[in-house]
């Protein structure tokens, strides 16, 4: 165990410790807000990456999953007074059930870009469904004043609850990636024929990922509405969609830490870029283009090269001194 | 005509060709034998520019062509007929053949070459307006060879032309290749697993193993059994 303890583990512990202590280190409400967004979006991105990067399901509809979860939790809490401790898991289950049956079963029989387009259209259908059901969902107005996790919750409370959720979901994803199922995905991704020989049932394995990923994304939607209090069809708009895709690609597709790093860059970067006024999106677009052209592996690639350099330094030291 | 020296080629990090050297003289038929996965196809792809080699030299008609893009190599009169055929399946036989004459130098000879292809493969003339996706395996192979001939080539590289064909079709394909060699005095480099047939028509053979040339012989000097033994 001690042998495994290297500077990297130290770094993880430092980061987690920092996040834990941050509200006590004089974080402004704004910064806490950004961290909450970061926790939730990185979960959405990580699950999306689980589908896209690991299971090879090129879904473009995950924002829709999140919205289904968010609306489910919001309606349950607001109209039926169910406590958030229950609405979040129910939101996840409902999302998983609806999405897997209505979208996963048909979509996974298709291949490649067709899955992408079917899921995209699925997500685009949701706003008109919301309009049709506006007595319950509020239509374009959305749902507001959704009860927080507990009465009188402040930003710090939401911060810690979302952080715990963030750790749990990342833990699940980590386990999944390193489980036999996860290995099967990687085998599928790398060589379909080889995986077939190993007896991997592609459809079933993919359906499992689909169900799990939509479950966690739906739950993230539930967390979102309880932490922030509102949801409306604008959450399904083109910009959140683009930004989440950008998180995954920017961070590094098919890596565990990629989407988390990407979410950090986008959530914090996008907010900082707000200072650039109307040039914000121009700069963001330029940033995405630059990174893809010069860092095709995403930001994680940069970290890997840094890691190598640090490791080289660490190795060299004893011999020189 | 073709002289290869110390060719190294990689597939990702895996070295597939290790210092391959061989030569093909004008009018010769050269057979390249060797077990599967030992670099024969890679060699042909390296020559025609589909998978450029990492090191070494390829001289074609005295000119260095290693590392040139595929289309420039075809324009110099070198045709490669891939094992996978790579036909344009949603086009007719005729369209496929016309596209074979895409290189500039081949355009003036389209009519003559087309007649010649139909002379060698009368069956293609019957099927000229049929989509390639509807052809049988043997017919598709004929289109692939015909498409190669259309490029007004001086060296024809054929990769496993008989693979996956019925015995009768195999014979027809080998006959056609022999006919092309005899009637047009075409230089041919052929990779084949049907050792017997290929050996019969070759002037010389090379045997490749583990990315290297194991040996080179005159066609009449070697027996099928000897080659088969060398595989193991």
């Amino acid at each position: 165990m001690l042998k495994n303890f290297n500077w990297k583990s130290a770094l993880y512990i430092l980061v987690i410790a920092f996040i834990l202590l941050y509200p006590w280190l004089g974080a402004s409400s704004y910064n806490k807000h950004l961290f909450i967004l970061f926790f939730i979006w990185s979960i959405v991105a990580a699950n999306w990456n689980l589908m896209m990067g690991y299971a090879g399901i090129n879904s473009l509809g995950n924002i829709g999953f999140m919205a289904i979860g968010g609306y489910t939790a919001g309606i349950l809490a607001k109209s039926f007074g169910i406590p958030p401790l229950l609405t979040v898991p129910i939101a996840g289950l409902v999302t998983s059930l609806v999405v897997t049956l209505a979208l996963g079963l048909p979509a996974l029989r298709l291949s490649g870009i067709y899955i992408a387009l079917l899921t995209l259209i699925f997500a685009d259908t949701l706003p008109s469904l919301l309009t049709q059901t506006r007595e319950i969902t509020g239509g374009a107005m959305g749902l507001h004043e959704i009860p927080p996790f507990y009465p009188g919750m402040d930003k710090t409370g939401a911060y810690y609850i979302c952080f715990v959720f963030f750790l749990i979901v990342l833990g699940i994803i980590y386990r999944v990636i390193h489980s036999p199922t996860g290995m099967a995905f990687v085998a599928l991704r790398d060589s379909e024929n080889f995986a077939y020989c190993l007896g991997v049932n592609k459809f079933r394995e993919r359906l499992k990922v689909f169900a799990l990923s939509s479950l966690l994304t739906g739950a993230a939607g539930g967390m979102y509405v309880h932490a922030l209090g509102d949801i409306s069809p604008t959450t399904l708009g083109i910009e959140p969609f683009l930004l989440t895709i950008a998180m995954i690609e920017l961070g590094g597709v098919g890596t565990f830490f990629g989407p988390i790093l990407g979410a950090a860059v986008i959530v914090f970067g996008n907010e900082f870029l707000r200072l650039a006024g109307t040039l914000r999106l121009t700069l963001l677009g330029a940033l995405i283009c630059t990174i893809i052209l010069f860092y095709p592996g995403g930001v994680i690639q940069l970290f890997h090269s840094l890691e190598h350099q640090i490791e080289r330094l660490l190795k060299r030291k004893p011999s020189t001194s | 005509m073709l002289a290869i020296k110390d060719l190294d080629s990689y597939y990702a990090d895996l070295q597939v060709l290790r210092g391959v050297s061989l030569h093909v003289e004008e009018g010769e038929v050269i057979a390249l034998f060797g077990p599967n996965g030992h670099g024969k196809s890679t060699l042909l792809k390296a020559i025609c520019g589909l998978q450029p080699p990492k090191r070494g030299s390829i001289q074609f008609k005295g000119e260095e062509i290693a590392g040139l893009p595929a289309h420039q190599i075809v324009e110099r009169g070198l045709a490669y007929i891939p094992e996978e055929r790579h036909l344009f399946t949603d086009m007719t036989v005729l369209e496929n053949l016309y596209l074979g004459a895409y290189p500039r130098h081949a355009r003036s000879a389209v009519k003559r070459n087309l007649e010649y292809v139909f002379h060698i493969f009368p069956r293609l003339a019957e099927r000229r307006n049929q989509l390639c996706s509807t052809l049988s395996g043997g017919e598709a192979r004929m289109v692939a060879i015909g498409r190669g001939l259309m490029s007004e080539t001086s060296l024809l590289m054929v990769d496993e032309p008989s693979i996956g064909l019925s015995p009768g079709m195999k014979l027809a394909v080998f006959d056609a290749i022999r006919q092309i060699h005899q009637e047009r005095n075409m230089t041919i480099l052929i990779v084949e697993q049907e050792i017997q047939h290929a050996l019969e028509m070759s002037n010389r053979i090379y045997l490749m193993k583990k990315g290297q040339i194991a040996f080179e012989r005159k066609g009449e000097e070697i027996q099928v059994e000897e080659i088969e033994k060398a595989y193991f």
Binding site: T131, L284, I288, I292 | A70, P82, D90, M91
Partner: protein, 288 residues
């Protein structure tokens, strides 16, 4: 009955607009397998460029269109040469091009916003007046629109069938190694494909601009509809895209008439699902 026929006419008009949205997309995807996620913005740029020439220099419509086509061709070729081409050489090109074009889309959309401002612009109609037959009434502008779209599609299919470059594009579309083997310069053909597709996309932007009006953001909507149509009709198939566009346009009109506008997307989704499950390659797509 009267309403139904009028709805069909509306559907025909929407359908031809949708076909215009899908054309450029299907050309690029068909040849290079790059899914252009910046498609809508490219159309918007073509339209804005034309609008700029029309309103600031008083250039005649036809000349403005031609100039903007030339600009789009250059733009497409440059974009391919300096960004897509290097990306295509990398192992995960399929998704990196998607993301790159997404990023480029955001970038260009906001460049358009910076240059031309947020206010809505309009491109003048192609013709005034209307044709009346019994109770049916269609504007000449819209008839012209349908005709232009049909002519453009016909011209494209002739180009693909009979010109050397067009044949080479089809060859590349069907088999890249096959095309290399017959001596087609892949990079050159890709470059020309992007130039051609950008011309077509820019041109469609002009047509759409007459009806939709222009703002820097409108392109995303065109793109999403274009995606639906292209998939519905069969990726890479021009004729499939046209058929799909007409079907979806008609379905939209009839659904609006009898059920209400809000039903259009859900019905599209179900239709889409059915078509994809029965024919995963789309209505007229060749291969899955």
């Amino acid at each position: 009955m009267e309403n139904f026929v009028n709805a069909l006419v509306s559907g025909l008009i929407s359908g031809s607009l949708y076909a215009a949205m899908a054309l450029g997309l299907t050309i690029i995807y068909g040849v290079s397998r790059v899914f252009n996620f910046g498609h809508g913005v490219i159309a918007v740029i073509g339209a804005y460029f034309t609008w700029y020439l029309l309103s600031n220099f008083g250039v005649p419509f036809l000349l403005a269109t031609l100039l903007s086509m030339a600009f789009m061709a250059l733009f497409g070729w440059l974009l391919y040469r300096f960004t897509i081409n290097p990306l295509l050489k990398k192992p995960n090109w399929e998704f990196s091009t998607v993301l790159f074009m997404l990023g480029a889309g955001i970038l260009l959309e906001n460049v358009v916003l910076q240059i031309f401002g947020p206010r809505v612009k309009s491109i003048p109609l192609l013709a005034e007046g209307a044709l009346k037959v019994a109770f049916i009434q269609i504007n000449w502008h819209e008839i012209l629109l349908i005709v232009i779209v049909l002519v453009a599609i016909l011209a494209l299919s002739l180009f693909f069938k009979y010109t050397r470059t067009g044949q080479a594009m089809r060859a590349v579309a069907q088999s890249v190694p096959g095309a290399q083997v017959v001596g087609i310069n892949i990079e050159q053909i890709f470059g020309m494909t992007f130039a051609l597709a950008f011309v077509v996309t820019g041109f469609s932007g002009i047509l759409l601009g007459t009806k939709y009006y222009l703002n820097p953001h409108i392109g995303w909507e065109w793109m999403v509809k274009g995606f639906v149509i292209v998939t519905f009709g069969g990726l890479g198939s021009t004729s499939g895209a046209v058929v799909a566009a007409l079907i979806l346009g008609l379905v939209e009109a009839v659904a609006t008439l009898y059920l209400g506008a809000i039903w259009v997307w859900p019905i599209w989704f179900v239709l889409f699902l059915i078509v994809l499950l029965l024919r995963p390659q789309g209505i007229l797509g060749g291969r899955a």
